[in-house]
């Protein structure tokens, strides 16, 4: 039993049509409901809900305050390697792109850590491309050993692993794993994934099940907005979240909707998502699920991030570089995508404080 058997009960086309068929009455019903269900969620992400964006934002802001208080968690990605065997049309690390490739040595990693720690971070998100012979378990074991004394929490955004590998890394200090399906549209999945293990839709889809089985503390889900119809994709992501919460009930969940950013390569979004639609989606998720963490990266602009930070998100990256080694020595030739909000972590903390919120750098300790 995995999420695949749940997904197979649904048709992409029928879900898409039923979202588009939602009316203002359905939206009002969803907004007034104490416990909105998946049908209510469809109404909240439907075109009919856009005129209700203010009510949605107010409800979402209230619910977020109630659960998370006036805080925003900060996180920072540490890109370890841009070597990748996949050919994903939307990604700068695509194996077919002629960019310089680099995998950090332990010494280079420690140089990055010095800069990151100086910013104030106590948690770290490690990012790699998918190249198991270079950045595989042997590499991760070494990196975890080196980083464990320096960070209270270590999280991963890397290729999918086996359950026993996740369990092993959890013993070594792994806290969270972020694994985005990119799109739940199985029929069109290969249009975006032209080579590499990432072509295996099911292997990726069942990764959160393996994470749950391995008892990893937190699982991050998401889609890449811009590939397929975002409404239908985010419905399936909500379905996935619902299934996981019920099945792996000891686990925490977080969710993100990165929008495609300019990157090396020529792919343009098929279904772009507007600023208002992204806010609608964040509010819809919060109203649907009061407990899920919602994160927003530096792919979004400073102005946009400052305006939405009170409205439903809980987590933001700050001061990010998306190239391996970029904190110690900037080298944009290596980057995955161009960041949009390029303020320093200190500047972002100031912006958060200016709105009466607290920036959280640490909410765990290594001894725990």
């Amino acid at each position: 039993m995995s999420f695949e058997s749940v997904l197979n009960q649904y048709s992409w086309k029928e879900v898409h049509e039923s979202i588009l068929a939602k009316t203002a009455k359905d939206v009002e019903y969803a907004l007034a409901s104490a416990k909105p269900d998946l049908e209510d969620f469809k109404a909240l992400i439907s075109p009919a809900a856009l005129p209700y964006i203010e009510q949605m934002a107010q409800r979402s802001a209230d619910l977020t305050r109630k659960r998370f208080g006036k805080t925003i968690q900060l996180y920072i990605p540490l890109y370890l390697s841009n070597i990748c065997e996949n050919r994903c049309v939307y990604c700068g690390f695509n194996a077919g792109n002629s960019i310089k490739r680099k995998i950090l040595t332990l010494d280079e990693i420690m140089a990055e850590v010095e800069v990151i720690k100086a910013m104030g971070y106590e948690h770290i998100l490690l990012v790699t491309g998918e190249a198991p012979h270079r950045s595989g378990m042997d590499y991760f074991r070494e990196v975890f050993k080196a980083l464990r004394p320096h960070f209270a929490q270590i999280s991963l955004e890397i290729q999918p692993l086996e359950a026993h590998e996740y369990a092993e890394l959890t013993e070594m200090g792994l806290h969270a794993v972020y694994i985005y399906q990119e799109t739940y549209n199985r029929d069109n999945y290969l249009n975006y994934h032209h080579a590499g293990r990432k072509q295996d839709f099911q292997w990726r889809l069942e990764t959160p099940d393996r994470l749950g089985q391995a008892k990893v503390h937190k699982i991050g889900l998401g889609i890449l907005a811009g590939l397929e119809d975002w409404r239908t994709d985010t419905f399936f992501c909500a379905l996935h979240l619902n299934y996981l919460e019920k099945t792996y009930w000891r686990t925490k969940y977080s969710i993100a909707f990165p929008r495609l950013r300019p990157h090396q390569g020529s792919f343009e979004p098929n279904n772009p998502m507007t600023d208002a639609q992204l806010l609608q989606l964040i509010c819809a998720y919060r109203i649907f699920n009061n407990e899920v963490e919602i994160s927003i990266s530096t792919r979004e602009s400073a102005l946009y991030r400052d305006n939405i930070l009170k409205l439903g998100v809980t987590t933001m990256s700050a001061g990010s570089k998306t190239e391996p080694g970029g904190y110690a020595v900037e080298n944009r030739e290596l980057e995955q995508f161009a960041v949009n909000d390029d303020r320093s972590a200190a500047e972002i903390e100031k912006a958060i404080k200016a709105q009466g919120f607290e920036a959280v750098w640490k909410d765990w300790d290594g001894f725990m």
């Binding site: 019903y29 007034a32 009510q55």
Partner: protein
Amino acid sequence: MQSLKIADKTFTSRLFTGTGKFGSNQEMEEALLESGSQLVTVALKRVDLNDDNDDIIAHLRHPQFNLLPNTSGVRNAKEAVFAAELAREALGTNWLKLEIHPDPKYLLPDSEETLAATYELAKRGFIVLPYIQADPILCKKLEDAGAAAVMPLGSPIGSNQGLETRRFLEIIIEQSKLPVVVDAGIGTPSHAAQAMEMGASAVLVNTAIAASPNPVQMARAFRLAVEAGRLAFEAKLAPRSSQAHATSPLTGFLSTL
């Protein structure tokens, strides 16, 4: 009204009933027939398992009644497993309402022993329906243990106090992958309707019917209340309030981007 599936059986009635506390077995039989119930629980301790013509069982021989033997009276997991094996042999059913209450005063269920017994009984092929505290974490652990449904209490058994555990029942219903049967404490048809409106899969009622001066009519009242509550849940309740907001203080920035 949607039917309810538990393990291999499908029920069109969501009112489960008990057989204790009636003035006579004749009265019990009439009331249970009137209730429309298809799952009837019987305390093993009250049945003579060696007598094929046991009077309680004789009055329950109707095709619509499925028997649900319960282990009421046992004090720990070991005794429960022993009682379950006896019941399976004598009554020819592997369905079991698991009740373990070491406390003779309030008859509250022992969570630790119930969880241990569920693991063992599921392994032995029983369809286990444990009677438990309204404890959401315990419910998730019972899923892992192999329970077929969970039966959290609304208030102490036989107390007729209603859904005092309401907030926790709501969490259980939201999180459970198994059918949730609200058991114990349901004292009036409106309590049963409330549980069904909340999304409970079924309710189990005994004292409120048996101890009424008119058990047959009360059984009918419960049948109607359970149906009404379930129909309301399936129709989705109308919202309680709707807010209106004229200004856009939070989202006005969208037009400036």
